[in-house]
Structures are given as C-alpha cells and as structure tokens.
Amino acid sequence: MTYFPEEVVEHIFSFLPSHSDRNTVSLVCKVWYEIERLSRRSVFVGNCYAVRPEQVVRRFPNVRALTVKGKPHFADFNLVPPDWGGYAGPWIEAAARSCVGLEELRMKRMVVSDESLELLARSFPRFKALVLISCEGFSTEGLADIASHCKHLRELDLQENDVEDRGPRWLSSFPDSCTSLVSLNFACIKGEVDSASLERLVAKSPNLRSLRLNRAVSVDTLSKILLRTPNLEDLGTGNLTEEFQTESYLRLTNALEKCKMLRSLSGFWDASPACVPFIYPLCHQLTGLNLSYTPTLEYSDLTKMISRCVKLQRLWVLDCISDKGLQVVASSCKDLQELRVFPSDFYVAGYSAVTEEGLVAISSGCRKLTSLLYFCHQMTNEALLTIAKNCPNFIRFRLCILEPRKPDATTNQPLDEGFGAIVRECKGLRRLSISGLLTDKVFMYIGKYAKQLEMLSIAFAGDSDEGMMHIMNGCKNLRKLEIRDSPFGDGALLGNVAKYETMRSLWMSSCNVTLKGCEILASKMPMLNVEIMNELDGSCEMEENSVDPSRVEKLYVYRTTAGARDDAPNFVKIL
C-alpha cells in the first residue's frame, strides 16, 4: 500500500465509515497516520476532558465537522453540581486558530458563552451547522451573532438548551442574502419571536426541510408559514391552545395538507383536545410523533390521533396515555421502532397510569421495537420475560420504575430474572438502564450475557461489591458505567482497574467508595482523572453531624491524555 500515491490511499480511507476504523488505520504506520490525519473530515470527542483541544486541532487541521460532549450523563438529573465544567470556549478558540475550514459543530452538555458564539460566527467563513443539545450559558444575543455572520448557515438546531432570553432580535438578524437554511429548531427558546421576521425568513428559505417552533408562535403564524414550505419533512408546532376560532384551525389543516412530505411532528405546546382533529389528515404519513410535552391531551385524544398513524416508527408520549392507550398503539403502529413513555408526575413514588401491561402489549404488537425508554408504576418478571421473547432486537432498553427498589408487583421478588431475560434474549443490546428491586444476581446475568453492552445505568440496586465486579469483568464492550445509590465500595472500584482504560468514564454517586479507595485508584492508573465531588469543600473540617468524612459522595473517573484539568471548581478534587 505504501507504493500508492497519497491521494489514492486517502481516497480509500474515505470509504471507512466509522471513527474507530479511521483510528485503527492511523496506527498502521507513520505514512498512514499522516495521510489519515490530514484527510480526516469528522472528529468525535466523547469526553471534552479526555484530550486537549489543541491536540485535536493540531492533529486534524482539516476537520470540517467536530462533535464534543461535556458533562457526564447524570448531569441531566442535577447530580452534577453547577459550574462543574464542560466549557466550549477552549474548543472554539482552538478551532478558530487552527481549523478555519470548520463547517459543523455539535455540542452536548456543555457550557457555551455568547462570546464563544460570536467567535464561532466570525471565525469560520464556511460554517454551516450548529447543533447544541442540553447546553447552557448563552443567550439569544449569541444566536443573533450566529444568524448575522454565518452567511451559509444551513442548520441551527437547539435541543433542550437553557437559553437566556434577551429578546427576539436574533430571528431578524438573518441577512436577506441568507437563503440556505435547511433546518431551524428553536423550540427551547422561551421568549417571544417576531412573527413577521419568522415569515420572512421562511419565505426566503426554499430549502427548509425541518422547522421546530417555540411556544410563542401562534396557530395563525404557523398556517402562514406552512403555506410557504410544501417540502417540509419535520415540523414542531407552536402553541395550539383553544383560544382560537375554528377558522384558524381550518386554515391550519389546509396548510398542513399541502405538506405532502411531512413525516415527523412534535411541539404541541399547550395543545387543547379541540385542535387534535385538525391534525388527522396528516397522521397516515407520519413516521415520527412527539407528544411528550403535552399533559393537556388525555388518553382518548392521544389514541384517536395515534390509531391513525399506521406508519409510525418513533413515538414519544406521556404516561397519561395509560396501558389502554398503549394497547391502541400496539394494534395500530406495527412499524414502531422507538418508544418513549415519560412520567407526568415527578414524585419518587408518583402515580403513573402505565404498568407492565402496557409494555407487554407493545411488545406483542410492535415486533420491530429496538429502542425503549419506559417510565412506569410497576413491573413483573413475567412481563419482562414475555417482552424479551417478543422483541429480541432491542438495542436500547431503559426501564424506570418510579419507586426505587420496587419488587415484582405480583410475586414481590426482585426483578433479577426479568432483566436477565432481556440481556439473554437481546443479543444486540448496547444500552441498558435497570430499576426496581435488584440483587447482585442481575449483575451476574448482565456480565454473562450482555456482551455488546456499551452503556449501563444503575440506580438503587445490588447487594455488594460482587455485583459491580460482574459488570467490570463481564461486559467486554462497556464504555460508560453510571451508578447511583448502590452499595458498591472500594473493593469493586479497585477490582479491575485496567478496565477503566478501555472505558470512556465511570460515575458513582451515593455509593460506598472512600477517599482512600479513590487515592489508590489514582495512583495505580495515572492515565485516569479521578474526580471527587463532595458537598462540603474538601479543605474544611467536616461537620459533626455529617456522614463519614472519608466517604466519597460523587466520583467521576475517565481516561485522558490531557492530565488533570485546570478549570475545575473548588468542590472538585482531582487525585
């Protein structure tokens, strides 16, 4: 291969689909390393602290698409204190210095400032796509800079970010010359938008395929917009409250009917049941439906809509749908691949109209199901066994029984056997979240059978260190392990230290690990950052009534080539 000219080798590499494949070929020899790194167009950094931004941009100067992830997953549930880190600034600054060809930036769980957004907007003349998921730290002013200066912007996708509202001017900041928009998602923007600006923007964007509006956009504005976007494929509505006259909804239906390409629907902010029939004409063509922001729709409204969506592949709903509603889903949506049922009541042992019966019905009607997130009131082993038999193709299986440590609802046994069946039958399982009453036995099953498992989330489960050891020793492909409120201690933490080098990260909170154990880990494995977060400042004396002072409340361990990070706040101690 070394006798081929570089361009040929480079061309061959361009067929390699995955990052890991490209990483592998770069290890073959120096020549290949060089060719690969200069021709790499897309870089994925799963943990922003695993590597220094400067190292990345130096190695891959011609990168066009960069993806960076920041905080650990449990940050979504407020388990990571604020100001922990995950700053986008250093990444954008490094790229601005060395990779001016950057076209796409995707960030998840990172802290992004307006200054960084401005720098981004001004530094990359060919910039096309910005995707921010669960990020924070910026305002609509930063978005205004993006809109004004990115002349070729195709994609601005803001998913569930915490954005400070400084007024609607950002939407008017797109210059008249900007006609390239393909995808615009501002559903998470809390404030008002100027309807006229929005309509103008849509009118001059003939390529618009995906549009997700926020709560401030009225039905009338939506109707006007839709008349301009006959090729729209994905729509997130504005608010659909009852205040408007039926005429508005008729106009909406007419406009919707023109969108023959529409496949995916979301939003439904404050939707009243009265608006639902106006969506009916669309239902038969939908493959994706997200009703999970709408507690105002009851089970009967939901089922009337969903029973018409015979092509549905992806469905997100609230548990108001109830078991009965899930039976309707099961009989109507034979192509369903992904289902998420979210809770509407957030108390620990909250009420949910959804039980194991709904999931059993789904599993028997929707045999193509591969991805599940299911919050429910109770579960049984028998149900899980049935589900596993019915749907052996699960790739993602996340089950959350609202009450921690709840046993099988009919036998009062732990749910070990049920989850055991899931991992045994679903040989392609890559992501698993377990809940309910669970002993070490479930971990024995997971370690034994879940060979493809990459991510495991554990809460309120297990009896002893043995449980975690089963996982550490058995799950060969494990990349991310996150544990809370489970009785695993130093024995488990230190039982297989070499494993951490093969993983992206480990999170343990409210477990039994001690400072001593963490120190030992840090000393044995210098290529890991062992971060400890205690509620109390590490330098203070512990208070009398607090828990054992050597006990570590929150632990985050990750492999890194960057050494200890220098932006850690006071409450984080890196060993």
Binding site: F74, D76, F77, N78, L79, P81, P82, S134, E160, D162, C188, D270, S292, Y293, P295, T296, E298, Y299, S300, L318, C320, K324, F342, P343, S344, D345, F346, Y347, V348, A349, G350, Y351, S352, A353, T355, F375, H377, Q378, C400, L402, E403, P404, R405, P407, A409, T410, N412, P414, S433, L437, S457, A459, R484, D485, P487, S510, N512, E535, N545, V547
Partner: protein, 280 residues
C-alpha cells in the same frame, strides 16, 4: 442498605419496635391492610436544585372510612431536602394494599429521581400550574366506598366517559360488594339516562364532591365538566338508610330515605332543599 452512612439523614417510618425498612420492603407483599408499610425516604441535603412550583408538602394520609387503620395521623412529607428544611419534620404513612394497582400516596422527592431532564420537568410543571385544575394533571381523586376498609385513588383523565369510570370502579371495589344483585349491576351504565335504574335497582349510589364543596350525584353533568370539578368520589351504600326493595314501587320511599340518609351523612340540614338527587 446498611453501611452507606445514611443513618443521620435517613428517615425511617414504621411501627414502634420497628421493622428494618429494607426487610419490610422486600417481604411486604400481600400484607393485610391493617399494617403500615415502612417507607424509606432518603433526604440528601443540600439538594442542588429544587423546583419551586412542586408541591413538596403533599402528604396523603388515607383514613379508613369505616374500619380503622391503625395509622397515626401523618404530618407533612417533604422531600429533596433543601438547606432550609430540617429533615426531622416529615413522616408519611400509607397503608400497604394487596392490590398492586393502588398508586402510592406519599409524595417524596429524591434528588435526580425519577431521572427526567430539568427541561422536561419545567415544562410540565408550568403547564400544570397554568391549568390550575383542582386535582392536577392526572385528575387524581380519592374514591371511598361505604363499607370498604380503605380508599382508592383514580386518575379521572384516564377514562373517556362515565361508563369507563364505572367499569374501573367496579373492578376496584368488586371484592367488597355484597354478593347478589347489587354491586356489579349497580356500577354499570353510570350515564345520565340510566341513573333512575341505578337508584332504584341497586344498593350503591355514586356521589362526588365538587370544587365548591358540594356533594353531587355522579352523572348529572357532561363528562368533561365532571372531570374538571370532581375533587373526590364517594360510593354511598343506599342501604345505609334502610333495607331496600328493588321494585318500582319502593322507589319513591327509597328516594326519600336515601335523601335523609344522605343529608345526615353530609351534615347538611334537612331544610336544605338544593338537593342533589333526582329521579328522572
């Protein structure tokens, strides 16, 4: 979960001479309703974040209508421990019920549980406060049935009609209905036009307390309106007044007796004629 060092912050509830909470949870199974369950609340303090508009103080104690549960009166349950609250103040007691359908009443909170993103939590809590419905998003109301040893709770929004509701209630309380012609027959067809049959042909009379605090007969108003205004349900036993016949002729006498019994039960003076029953 010994050894986690939670003892200082942990609340354990139970009968004096106390069960180990964990043990109790695991072996709880089908307990008789007289026993109380140990509910282990983990209050971690300080909590990094609290949603302001969550009703932290919703403690539901379910007093038995007829027989007594030995439950002590419960004080307020708090959860999620912010620095301002002391963990010592709360206790929540519920009855353990054999029927797994029964939703648990206590409204405890734990940090980051259930695992739902703040974005989603904020949206749903804003929407439910906007709605301002008396019973919240799911329209949960307590259902008591005369003669039953414990109450149930139903989410009215789960049902589309009086018919669905009556079927559900029938299922829930079927173990308590007296064998014979009453119970199941009485629960069927709880719609407006069949109320006459209900009243004359059965021992059970479904009533509800509305937003104004008045006790109303179920079925008078359209379903939606009922869901919006219903605060709690009571399934009254007609025979609480007297033994009943089931013939038409007895209907009128029965009505008067029911009326008296009802007034008595509700504490309304007999002079109050703004009455709730009618036979169509």
């Amino acid at each position: 979960m010994a050894g986690l060092g939670f003892e200082e912050t942990e609340l354990r509830l139970g009968l004096p001479g106390g069960n180990d909470a964990e043990e109790a949870t695991r072996s709880s199974g089908k307990r008789a309703f007289e026993e109380t369950i140990d509910l282990k609340l983990k209050l971690e303090q300080p909590a990094p974040e609290r949603d302001e508009d969550e009703e932290a103080a919703a403690a539901d104690v379910i007093p038995a209508a007829a027989n007594s549960l030995s439950s002590p009166a419960a004080s307020v349950a708090t959860g999620g421990g912010s620095m301002k609250r002391s963990p010592s103040q709360s206790s929540v007691v519920t009855a353990e019920l054999p029927d797994p359908e029964k939703p648990r009443a206590p409204k405890a909170q734990a940090v980051g549980w259930p695992p739902v993103r703040s974005f989603r939590k904020n949206i749903l809590s804003v929407q439910s406060t906007q709605k301002g419905a008396g019973a919240g998003v799911a329209a949960l109301v307590k259902v008591s049935m005369d003669g039953a040893p414990y109450l149930r709770k139903v989410g009215l929004r789960m049902y589309g009609s009086y018919h669905d509701l009556s079927k559900a209630l029938e299922k829930m309380f079927s173990s308590f209905t007296i064998a014979g012609s009453c119970g199941s027959q009485g629960m069927k067809d709880m719609n407006e036009t069949k109320l006459a049959d209900l009243l004359s042909g059965s021992e059970y009379v479904p009533t509800y307390e509305d937003k104004d605090g008045d006790w109303m007969l179920v079925g008078d108003v359209p379903w939606e309106m009922f869901v919006e205004s219903c605060k709690r349900l009571r399934i009254m036993k007609g025979s609480e007044a007297v033994g009943l016949g089931h013939t038409e002729g007895d209907g009128k006498m029965q009505e008067q007796m029911l009326r008296n019994a009802y007034l008595h039960a509700s504490g309304i003076s007999c002079n109050d004629t703004a009455l709730l029953f009618y036979v169509s």
